[in-house]
Amino acid sequence: MPATDYQGSSSHSHPSPFSSFGRSLLSLRRDSPAVGASQAMPSGEEADLEAFQRHVAAHLADIRGEEDEFLSIEWIRRLLEAFLLCQEEFRVFVAQARRRGALPAAGEKLVVEFHERAVKALDVCNAARDGVDQLRRWERLADIAASVLLAPGEIHEGQLRRARKALSDLAVLLVDDTAASGSGGVASFLASHRNRSFGRARASPSRAAVAGASSATSASHFRSLSWSVSRAWSASRQLQAIGAGLAAPRAHEAGLAAPVYAMGCVLHLAAWALVAAVPCPDRSAALQAHHLPAAPPRAAFPWAPPLLTLQERLAEEGKRKDRRHSCGLLKEIHVLEKSTHKLTEAIDAAPIPLFGDREADVREAAAELAAVCAAMRDGLEPLERQVREVFHRIVRSRVEGLDSSMHNAD
């Protein structure tokens, strides 16, 4: 990407003064005759380094998008895409350094270190894949409820019952998954809501007790969540491992120290966002900011400000009252939970036969739910593919690393 692209996009989407400060620092160093040529780093490498860092900054800045897109499937995909782009730039950067012979053993060691770090993200990818699968299961149940109520014609008792049953099965899944994710809040909320709702239904003889009884028997059957990662695996611990030892290189550390650090930070951000977004085993602790690696100094790296902006935004979102105990910060999960809740309330409040405002309420809630289901159906498959692509690329670059460092080992 030519440098002008970055300036073009950053001028509107990323007005932080720090990035230009960082850039001018770098260019100052390059232009200054006192330092320039005498540096250990060949000038080609310095130019490459600067370009690399600017590109990383630009890719991160490109993720932001509209406010209401934040943490949507689309947004996560953009984040993963940014990671892939950065990874590719890094690969090229390393290859060029290697070709120039400017990659001493210490540099190769840094590259290997990054690959080791990246390999730790593979389990996150697998867990996220399971999480996405889980979302699909939710979507299927939610879609039953929504589509039953949106079918043309009057809504009769049968449809209401059927929708309610699907919603209660969904509630069981949500409760289980939230419990597995390691947070209690929504789980207990949903559980109590379910009991309340079915309790009330049961108490009203005319309604013949919804699907409460059958959902009680089905509850245990639906508890089929199985993560393909090991039982003891924890997303929070994995994230800590990914971020372990991630510290900004000192000013005198030339060569690969800065790009490796940048990639470490971008990798951590991507993995962290993924864990935050979708259900994963033991993910809730991961959202706490004190588990984050030390923040990169804004002034020293052009990519630090956009990265920190994303990171802060994510941490904020995790702290929000209505999201703190969610089983995933993904926007679609939030909407799904909200619309499920709303639809359940609407159904509970609905007299039989349905008419007027009540019917409109039910249909409106159902339409909302249907919309988010559609969004999930459309988005989850590409998301899963992209998570897999991240997996592939990490593996591929590690293998390339294994192959090329082999000759330069010792």
Partner: protein
Amino acid sequence: MDGSAELEAAERVVMRWDSTSASASAAADEPMLFDGASGDRIEAERFLRAVDDLRRLAPPSPAAVGSPRCLSSGSSAGGASSAVQVAMARLEDEFRHVLSSRALDLEIEALADLGGSLSISSDRSNSASSADLQVVDEDDSVSSSVGRRSSYRSLPSIREIDLLPDDAVADLRAIASRMAAAGYGRECAQVYASVRKPAVDASLRRLGVERLSIGDVQRLEWKALEAKIRRWIRAARAAVRGVFASERRLCFLIFHDLPISNITITATATATAATAPATHDTPFAEAIKGAALQLFGFAEAISIGRRSPEKLFKIIDLHDALSDLLPDVSDIFAASKVAESIYVQAAEIRSRLADAVRGILSEFENAVLRDPPKTAVPGGTIHPLTRYVMNYSSLISDYKATLSELIVSRPSASARLAAEGNELAPSLAELELPEPENQSPLAAHIIWIIVVLEHNLEGKASLYKDTALSHLFLMNNVYYIVHKVKDSPDLWSLIGDDYLKRLTGKFTMAATNYQRSAWLKILNCLRDEGLHVSGGFSSGISKSALRERFRSFNAAFEEAHRVQSGWCVPDTQLREELRISISEKLVPAYRSFLGRFRHHIENGKHPELYIKYSAEDLEIAVNDFFEGVPPSPHIRRRSHG
């Protein structure tokens, strides 16, 4: 009975079995319609008929509301739809009940025996393990006990097992078809997957498939992983050919031709692309997807591990096992989009394992190249590296069926470039690889490995201060290489006669060089030149020169005897031949020297100081050579005088 009376009768039947009614919440002892022998067959049939009647007489499709057939009032339509819902809730419970309570105990142990060649393959695996390669001892049984390309390929194929008795499957089919017809296919599919998924997971646990994350696998010792790979190969066969195949069949028997997942009535019908022919597969895919990904995840974790030479053969085993399974995986999983992604992933992992095999092989080549010449092995015997590399090479030739497929490029230019950049091997790039026509890439690699080994050995040979010993070292090692090649027909055929000839030539050269540098000086003592006094008629022999000659011969021979008895030629035949060859040169020369000059000495004083040994003494003394043991301090003399 007119339509509405029939409808009411049907509703009554259905309502009797309202599982959503409050009284039915005592789930445990609730009677079920379909319950094997204890169920009420007649009632079950009646219930299904009632469901059919409901559908026939009052189509639940809301689209039918207001159509001429719907004569009754709106509330009746609502009642019918309510009855349908009650019936469907009931059927869903019945479906779940039959599916979970009538499941047969899967005979996992029998399934695990699907891999019939188990004993052979584990034998082979044991002998190919890293320990055997590293701990090389005198006996070379490593290669002789392996090499039978065991019957990996002749495994039994898919074996579908009844997961439920036929009558239960028939009941499930009957229920599923009612639910699908009423538009409740998705609910039915959900229940199916929610029951079968844990069952599949449990089967895999019983087969010994562990849930290991990639991190777990990376932390494990290779020895432990080898055992896990062995177990995985067995488990994967049983899982794919037994468990997954049986699941697919069950799903097919219950759901085939039923419209179960194509009902998304919402306006946004974009994702309703579940294509009709594959519908019976969706519940199957959901039931097994997690288990399958987890199963293959282990092979994937292995494929991305560090590449070290000792892993090669186990990874080939894993690769072969997966390759062998792929056609079945394709057969089982290719029927739907979701399931197909599992096949794609398995195929990816196979090719990653192939990459790993290639990577490990070049890692091995590099390791051979780089093995640093630290200290010389005492006595010039066979270097452990030589044994290691040759045992490894003959294992490679044992695996040539797979390796010939995987190794498609000759030793890369980059490998040679790396060799060039290696200070240990500055001249390696000059080495020419013999490249006869139609030589396979694998053969080129093996030859390259041996070339690199030879080169490395030359570096190690230069560690000896004594050039004769350095030649002896090379002779021993090249002889060992030649021998190993000849011992393994597979290796021989890979390497070819040309290269073997070169190796033999190299061996002969080393043997000649040894003899020259070790014995020329000694034999020179026995020459005539320099003994004759110049001028004068009588053939003048300088007695003092002659005495000096005998003295220096004795000293040189004693020194050679002392030193070379400590040298080592481990191969008995080679040792014998070498002694004979030395004797053949030494003894006649000595005998003739003695014949020509002994009287000059014997006429003088103290002849025993100069003629210490008879020819026979030398012959006997030569037998002490190359034993690799400190020699007796003195040369034994057969006779005195």
